[in-house]
Amino acid sequence: MACKEAEMADNLGTSPDEVQFRFRDDEPVDHGTVTVDAALDQTNATAVRIEPGDDARALLPFLERLALVEVNFPAFGDGRGYSSARILREAGYVGELRAVGDVLIDQLNHMRRCGFDSFAPDNRLDEEDALRAFATWDNVYQRAADPGQSGRRTIAEQRHEA
């Protein structure tokens, strides 16, 4: 099974052309992704695609060699991918984390806060609406995987700064 999926690897995943928003300066990975199962078998895979039912923690032993993790949202209402993203960031993953699939305007902000730094929606989003969505909140209540060197200061932290 793993072998068959590996052969299909070229067809899996999004290409850099399909990425509509990217918050990184490095060169994007220019080859396809493999499934989580395949990544566990292939010691040289650098790009992986996580489906909603996959356990993101299965990737933790290989994080250093990964340059791209795609998290698929087959339907926007399935929120498992938000946990997958945070788990990877909490484990120190610094590569590209791409939200793909049924990615809509009103999910962008939360996805960004969970550590996604690139977005390849199935249907291209209105640029203006999307940029407004990314900037919805000046402040946040929770500590999550917000972008920034040591994360974003939460409202509670700002309230109690010396």
């Binding site: 909603p52 926007f76 209402g77 399935d78 929120g79 498992r80 938000y82 946990s83 945070r86 909490e90 809509l104 305007i105 009103d106 999910q107 902000n109 939360h110 996805m111 806060r113 969970c114 209105d126 609406d129 407004r132 919805t136 909140w137 000046d138 402040n139 946040v140 209540y141 929770q142 500590r143 999550a144 939460t154 409202i155 509670a156 932290e157 700002q158 309230r159 109690h160």
Partner: protein, 542 residues
């Protein structure tokens, strides 16, 4: 009570603008109804049988007079002059236009209110003990913890698309007045060896598969409260079922895994989460707590003049012991005989707001029983308060009696309902009031749901009634023996259902059995627990 600072205000203001923009994109056709639906739901906007319904959050059921006045204004300006208080301490308006919704949210934001996450598959408004901060039996005021959780759960980036809705209740007393163990997560603040911490319960709920939440942790230290909640939610978000919406609540996950295995997974995630640093600084809890300091209670008389029997009955039925002995908490019944449970007109809301200012340190509560409460009333002021309430039709002395019925909106409003709930509640309260049986029967919690989703809490009623559709006609199943309190239990069905007249007669019959068999001091529930179902079945079907 809690007051917004500039951060809290900016958050609700941003939310209003976000929703305005979403509504615009919907109207411009950039969002399909399927895409818009979860967004409007997360702002409390449901599409019902006749119109949109807007559910406004009243965090842990606490509000002040100005906020209540705004709720009255909204009822008049955008609805038909009334609102409906709910079992989760919120208020619903049943006749809202979509194009008004953003303006209503803006009106709410001006008085530090919102409709955030009052629906949708996210963490809902946090509920609590309606006597919080007033009850003589509480360990501490539970509301600061509820407020901490409110902030944590508002716009949580990871938990906005959960498998299903998620309800949290926080109490801090051995006496449970918030149906805590019938919530997805129930938290009881406790004191152990001089330290305050939290018991966590998970996987309770009503609906089509009622479950009582098992305890998953007997003590979470205060500086790990949010971290523990985060761990419990993450396990649910990752492993809660998404294949079937009727099996998607956390109660099914906890049941299928077993409480021990769910707990093990939460503990593992918790151990990891502790290293992530998601906990707000403890100083934040202290800051919130300062907002809930006691009002300036003053000594005064501790007894009332009982020469007016109507007043004396109201005091006996509708007031609750306060931690300061010259005060009580006073229930304002929204269950007038023959009325719609939980409904209040704009004028009534304004009167209650005025009375709160005059007699209760500008504080009001919404109770999960769909009544209102003035938490801190001087015993010396009780007669004046009662006189004002009675004159406005708000003086029904029926707390926890058979007239104090919880009922869902049912087929009169709700698109999910199979049967009407409201007319049944009206007829039952009329029947018992007219026969003079209400006081004779005493404490009897009757709860009516118009469909299997159990919004009327019928599983937790001493007597529960469930409306079903039987070959196109409304049919009502009777159940007995439920409780949402510290003696929590799930009601059991008596047998075949009844039509509307039949179920009213059936309620009378089971109270006959109770009156004929009760021992001294027994409530209906106690008698049922002692003698079991059989005598009731015999009376109903024998």
């Amino acid at each position: 009570m809690y007051q917004y600072d500039q951060y809290d205000q900016a958050m609700v203001d941003a939310r209003v603008e976000e929703f305005r923009d979403q509504a615009r994109r919907r109207l411009e056709g950039k969002l399909t109804e399927d895409q818009f639906k979860p967004l409007r739901l997360m702002n409390g906007l449901y599409l019902q049988l006749h119109a949109y319904m807007l559910r406004v959050a009243i965090p842990y059921g606490t509000l002040n007079a100005r906020q209540m006045e705004t709720l009255a204004d909204i009822a008049e300006k955008y609805d038909r002059g009334y609102g409906h208080f709910t079992t989760r301490q919120n208020i619903q308006y049943n006749w809202i236009k979509l194009e008004d919704a953003a303006d209503i949210l803006a009106d709410l934001a001006k008085v530090e209110m919102h409709a955030i996450q009052t629906s949708g598959n996210c963490i809902r408004n946090i509920s609590s003990d309606h006597f919080a901060g007033a009850a003589a039996d509480e360990v501490v005021d539970p509301r600061p913890y509820a407020e901490l959780l409110r902030q944590w759960s508002s716009f949580h980036p990871e938990f906005t698309y959960l498998p299903r809705k998620f309800k949290i209740a926080v109490i801090a007393s051995a006496n449970d007045r918030a149906a805590m163990r019938l919530h997805d997560i129930g938290i009881r603040i406790v004191s152990r060896e001089g330290k305050i911490g939290a018991e966590f319960y998970a996987g309770g709920g009503m609906g089509r598969t009622p479950m009582i939440a098992p305890m998953i942790r007997d003590f979470v230290p205060l500086d790990q409260l949010i971290t523990y909640a985060e761990a419990a939610l993450r396990v649910y978000n990752r492993y809660g079922r998404r294949d079937n919406k009727y099996k998607a609540r956390i109660k099914i996950l906890v049941h299928e895994l077993g409480a021990a295995e769910y707990t093990r997974q939460v503990e593992e995630e918790f151990a990891h989460m502790l290293s992530v640093g998601v906990e707000p600084p403890l100083a934040e809890l202290e800051r919130i707590r300062t907002h809930f300091s006691d009002p300036a209670f003053v000594d005064g008389p501790k007894t009332i003049d009982r020469s007016n029997p109507d007043f004396a009955l109201w005091v006996d039925r509708n007031t609750h012991r306060h931690k300061h002995d010259a005060h009580v908490s006073a229930v304002i019944s929204l269950k007038p005989v023959g009325g719609i449970p939980g409904d209040a007109t704009a004028d009534q809301m304004r009167l209650v707001a005025r009375l709160a200012k005059q007699y209760s340190f500008d504080e009001l509560r919404v109770m999960h029983t769909q009544n209102l409460l003035l938490p801190h009333v001087r015993i010396a002021d009780l007669h004046a308060l009662w006189s004002a309430l009675d004159a406005a039709g708000l003086g029904a002395p029926n707390t926890d009696t058979i007239e104090d019925i919880i009922a869902c909106p049912g087929l009169d409003y709700c698109s999910l309902a199979n049967a009407r709930s409201i007319p049944l509640a009206q007829r039952i309260s009329e029947r018992f009031a007219q026969a003079g049986r209400t006081e004779v029967v005493g404490e009897l919690k009757l709860k009516i749901s118009g469909c299997i989703n159990a919004c009327g809490h019928h599983h937790a009623g001493h007597i529960g009634i469930l409306g079903v559709d039987k070959k196109g006609t409304e049919n009502y199943q009777l159940s007995l023996g439920g409780s949402e309190a510290e003696d929590v239990s799930l009601a059991k069905i008596t047998g075949p259902g009844f039509d509307e007249d039949g179920v009213i007669a059936a309620v009378e019959k089971v109270t006959d059995v109770y009156l004929a068999t009760r021992a001294d001091g027994e409530r209906f529930l106690d008698t049922y627990r002692r003698i079991g179902m059989e005598p009731f079945k015999e009376a109903l079907y024998g």
